[in-house]
Subunit: 780 residues, 2 copies
């Protein structure tokens, strides 16, 4: 009997209402403390061999007979009108098989704000025309033969300029993203005015972060193939069902005739959560040419077209009592969202959620410019916002003369301010304690006083801490099927994708555990909209908590059926049978056990199929928590910052695969280091051209930059959140890293760097300011 | 709650026990006489467009990047020992990428009776070695460079010789297939001795049929591709799960790592029900070469290696009372099964099942020779056996001076002799009546007396009738899933295959009917072991009755869920809601209806999945029935037989798609005509070489041979058989055709041709014998 239930799901800092159709009972929660066979044990990637041997087929590896290669002609102007396009010469070039422009494809892409090939170009890289040819060189040659007449328009390239009253409007919906008819998004609880009145100490500061580019190892790209009226798209995506929907809508096709495949994926970090134009362009070209078409972005396109973490300017004002209780937090922030984004990342999330504070006001503006649009980037908003908040808190502690950890303990809350409810679980205090232990200070210890760690010539040493909060509770919808083969091997089907995070492995462990079979019996099938029921996007750290329970429920369903079948042949009630490590065992009669394969032999070709779905969330808010302590050295002569060590402890509920989780932590920390120290998009302010769109110009951390990373999870099941007890772990580890490093730099030098990345130039400037101030003070 | 039930399933004349796991209730049977929207209405092939435009990808059309082409070196001797193989020169040929012989692959293939590459060659075409090369020409050139030393052994080429006591043993298990330790298969009920004692009239005769070759439009073939440890096989097969099992076993792989795909298939007629060597050979070559390999058989290989309908010799003796009641049937038959077959077709089926007769004895011998093995061929055994039986019955009628239809009505039975139970349904008498009407004689009429139809010069006209019986009830296991997309389109998943018969269309109709959506909303996905749960082999006319109920049950499950969901949003009890043509309607409130898509919008990405399986069969025996009347002209000077008209009426339960069913009838009749008149494998009796293995030498009927075909089904639901009421229809129409033609030839000329095909030579010989006999009689 199916019933409909509405439930709330938080994804990337925003709460959605989802509808679940409930059939039958979900399994009871996995108990804490029970002995598990597979879950919680470190497991190698189930597809590690395929990945390292090259057998894994990424979108880039898809090659089809007769396949053409496509390239896109892009606007060289940040703002321009296309007056005419002449493709005739390009079409005559031998080897060119299809050309498409706005004349062949008049397709809405950005709602009412822009077409697939628009007549107005709104950033450098906007799509003018596309060509498919026998090889990529011919395609590029053909692009050069397309004659386009532009009327160049004035462009707006900085968020400050775009946000000014009376600024040139560069987008049909205005330069500032609207919420409920107002510029920006206002959040308020209590009264900040009252809060500041009762404050005894107030800090104020403006913090800035730069535009970070995702730089996933695999660029965005598509291969499109038509078979009659059916279209198959191979796409490097975090959301195969999203691509299916978007492509079907653009091409006006029924969903049942579009298939999207992404079996292996080389990272997305959020940028591949939405569908970009290349899938539709490839499909259009393939339809014209009647041959498959591959359209992969190159690194420059990747870094200019398909998203970034937009720059921010965050003005914080925080008040507290003398004994260290926060009385008010006020934040005004601007985020650069590029041209076509319809939402801005939740920079204000940390200010709203991290500390117990009755009076909070945040106003965040998403500001458009004639630049490539932002996209979700691993914990969008929270990474930026946490840097600002935790820097300001650190300044507040300094002003109060309080230990930063003590201060945080004091302002800790088990209650969620927005809902007034207790969190489903919160082990943040344990994260502080354990990170202090890991960094070598000892649980309950204070952080070293500024400047107290030994220096080494010009190298000053310091430690800094920052906290983490984030959603990651997941929720419906997600479906899974479990199929038992006659030889006892198991195939799990779910229409999700493993974007490189190792969810395939963790979900295989969940299936193996619930079924009572060895891990290597499981083949987890994902990344194909035609093979499996709906799976959610791989974003918002939702995969394990959303899909895991669906997989477990499907496995439980299959296991129950297997035991009922075994009951018939073993003449024992199903209730006294168990599946353990591939054997059906009888309670108290170890000699009566039978291999599962023997039972399966009895039923021949009959194939047991278990079905599961993700049930509704509890009403309690679900969040992940964590703390990181960075130990750094700063060269006060060169401004260079070296990260020596990072201790990271996060509360992400039950750990399914400690090995996979550690990888997430390592990756998050490194990406956070890049954000904090080296990564910064550089733009030619006259033209809007990105100057460092390649990987030799743009500096992501390398193995040489890697510090000692001491990572650990508070492995406590959140049984309220869902019946596997896990929360998501993909985004949490990146959130506090840059903030912890900034606080450590301050701890080492006394200089507060308020703009990321903390390049040597900025560190030296902060040191200079400090010196000036100190000299000013002494000269007073 | 899953329960286990054992049930009997008849496939190709043999009864198997199957185990079903029952969960929940199957739907109630579709009522007779209700108004159906989609079921029972003629529908065009749902994939007709793909098939005629070339978009449909058959195995032959699978081309993969870097794909190699393979060819097999085959034994030129009918019996020989391989002393040595030297492939060194072949390996050196540029473009050769892999060579495989028994040295590289020591794999059991025929149980203990033969290997993939055996050291003993047992027929011309047996596999010696295989080569994969850049193209097929190079592969063939390489084969010529392989040096093989043979020790030629004496061969046994005729079944008469092979069956002789003391004959040379050519197979490890003997020359005659054993049943329960005896030569051949003995069936007996009552006492034929007693039966013949009480007989007043006895006929005796020996009937022979020749070896018929399947000649499916698409030959057998495979493409193998490895991705890491996973193997994908595209195979032109009637049984994807069978290929998966066989390949996994041969290569010692878990089932979960082998995927078999056959989305479109160009006919099999039984020959593609079992797995031949090419899939494994292609997989081995692909593993060595690390590239995909295609191995398609050519027409000659097709006609010598992968099956045929073996020749038969049938000695019938039938007794009856003067008033036309059969008292005894005795049959001794031999079937040529080639070298490796482990079973012989059920030539005795008609003798056992067609008529009410208490005393029946049949002994059938499957005899091995050094020739290519037989395979199931559309109603194996019954086509051959029906020719013998119905010819003998016709002779009996002649002797009794009874009208053949009257005689058959008299010996009709509603009770199955073996089980003593009534058939689930039997409308054979209606088939006789309706076929008499269709041929223009009128229901209840007698057939024209021999020689009574007007002749035209040397052309003599006659009519003959024959009956049909066959299983076709299907049964478990079969599974299906129905998935509802957010836009209301539907995907049905089942791991079966449409071998060209149009089951995809019929099953789509079943899903559309049960869901209450238009037929074009349905996409039926089949032919992929990885996309769908288990579906049975496409053989034994079981597909519609086996899979149809599973599809309906899955659709019902999805419909119920949809209505329960609709109930929530429409605030109306689900029990008073219906799904009609894509609308959710409220009983008695037509204004309150809502499009299904509106309900789906409410649940967003939540995807309704319905699950269904084929439940157990009833204990009643399930059979299909039919009658055909042929009208022919025989040229008594040239011996040529022209079929003018065939009226065919079959009882196959409820008709799902009348258009598809008619195609099955047309095809069956034509193939039956080929068997009766032109198709005959010719063998060089000294060497065992097949002399007419190509389509220009071997005569299948063409459009020029096509008679007027008046086809009809008794469209009565068999609600006992399963809840859709359908029985299978693929094989029934071929069964009586040759027998009806033979009886018509007799009716036209008085000459009884006792050997098929009735070539002009054989017809002339029979006419000559008749003349001799008549002259003999007059000279007496």
């Amino acid at each position: 009997m199916a019933r409909v239930i509405k439930t709330k799901v938080e994804i990337e800092g925003r709460v959605h209402e989802e509808t679940v159709v409930v059939e039958g009972d979900e399994p009871a929660a996995w108990e804490e403390g029970r002995e598990y066979s597979v879950v919680g044990k470190p497991a190698n990637r189930v597809d590690g061999r395929e990945r390292v041997t090259g057998a894994a087929r990424y979108t880039y590896d898809v090659n089809l007979p007769g396949m053409l290669h496509a390239a896109v002609l892009r606007s060289p102007h940040a703002h321009a009108r296309v007056l005419s396009i002449d493709t005739s010469e390009a079409e005559r070039l031998p080897g060119v098989r299809a050309v498409v422009t706005r004349d062949e494809a008049d397709i809405d892409w950005y709602g009412d704000s822009g077409k697939l090939f628009d007549s107005t170009m709104r950033f450098i890289g906007d799509d003018v025309a596309a060509v498919a040819a026998d090889d990529l060189d011919i395609a590029h040659d053909a692009l050069k033969l397309i004659k386009v007449e532009y009327e160049v328009l004035p462009a707006v390239l900085s968020i400050e300029e775009a946000a000014k009253p009376g600024a040139l409007e560069i987008h049909p919906r205005g330069n500032i993203i609207q919420h409920n008819g107002h510029n920006g998004e206002l959040y308020s609880r209590g009264s900040v005015e009252k809060g500041f009145k009762s404050a005894e100490v107030i800090v104020e500061g403006t913090y800035r972060t730069s535009t970070q580019m995702h730089n996933s190892l695999e660029t965005h790209g598509s291969v499109a193939m038509w078979e009659g009226e059916e279209l198959t798209i191979w796409e490097s995506t975090q959301y195969i069902f999203g691509v299916r929907e978007r492509v079907a809508r653009a091409l006006n096709m029924p969903l049942s005739k579009v298939r999207v495949i992404c079996e292996y994926m080389g990272g997305g970090f959020g940028s591949k959560g939405s569908t970009f134009k290349q899938a539709v362009i490839a499909a259009l070209l393939a339809r014209i040419a009647r041959r498959p078409v591959k359209l992969m972005l190159d690194r420059r396109e990747e870094n200019t077209l398909v998203g970034n973490r937009g720059e921010t300017v965050q003005k914080y004002r925080i008040g507290a009592t003398r004994d260290g209780l926060i009385t008010a937090i006020d934040l005004e922030a601007m985020t650069g969202v590029g041209i076509y984004a319809t939402w801005a990342a939740s920079v204000a999330g940390p200010a709203q959620d991290l500390y117990k504070c009755a009076n909070v006001r945040t106003l965040t503006l998403g500001v458009r410019t004639n630049m490539g649009s932002q996209a979700a980037f691993r914990a969008p908003g929270y990474v930026e916002g946490m840097f600002g908040l935790e820097s300001a808190i650190d300044e507040l502690c300094e002003k109060l003369g309080m230990d930063p950890v003590d201060f945080r303990r004091k302002n800790h809350s088990d209650v969620d301010h927005s809902s007034g409810q207790n969190y489903s679980s919160k082990h943040l205090l344990a994260c502080y304690d354990r990170s202090l232990e890991l960094i070598g200070l000892g649980s309950g210890a204070a952080l070293p006083v500024r400047g107290s760690l030994p220096s080494n010539g010009p190298w000053r040493r310091g430690m800094g801490l920052a906290s983490q909060t984030w959603g990651g509770g997941g929720g419906p919808p997600a479906h899974a099927l479990v199929r038992i083969n006659p030889d006892g091997t198991v195939e799990v089907h779910c229409g999700m994708q493993d974007i490189g995070t190792g969810t395939k492995t963790a979900l295989s462990q969940i299936a193996a555990e619930e079924l009572g079979v060895p891990l290597d019996s499981i083949r987890f099938r994902l990344g194909d909209t035609q093979k499996a029921p709906f799976g959610p996007a791989s974003w918002g750290s939702i995969t394990t908590p959303s899909v895991g329970p669906a997989v477990r429920m499907a496995a439980e369903d299959a296991r129950k059926q297997l035991l009922e079948i075994a009951s018939f042949f073993m003449e024992t009630p199903a209730s006294s049978l168990q599946l353990v490590d591939g054997w059906v065992t009888t309670e108290g009669r170890p000699e009566g056990r039978k291999p599962l394969t023997e039972i399966l032999d009895e039923i021949g070709d009959y194939m047991v199929t278990g079905k599961g779905y993700r049930g509704p969330n509890p009403t309690e808010p679900i969040r992940t928590w964590g703390a990181q302590i960075a130990e750094v050295e700063v060269n006060i002569e060169t401004g260079q910052v070296r990260v020596l060590k990072i201790a990271a402890v996060h509360d992400v509920g039950r750990v399914i695969n400690p090995k996979g989780l550690a990888s997430q932590f390592y990756g998050g920390i490194l990406q956070g280091m890049g954000f904090g120290l080296t990564e910064e998009r550089k733009v030619d302010v006259r033209t809007g051209q990105v100057l460092n769109a390649s990987l030799d110009e743009y500096k992501v951390p390398t193995i040489a930059d890697t510090p000692i990373m001491l990572v650990e999870a508070i492995d406590k099941a959140d049984t309220l959140a869902n019946h596997i007890g896990s929360k998501g772990s993909g985004e949490p580890p990146i959130i506090p890293t840059a903030a912890a490093i900034a606080n450590a730099v301050y701890n080492a030098t006394g200089a507060r760097v308020k703009e990321l990345p903390m390049t040597p130039r900025r560190v030296l400037a902060a040191l200079g300011e400090l010196r000036d101030r100190q000299e000013g003070i002494t000269s007073n």
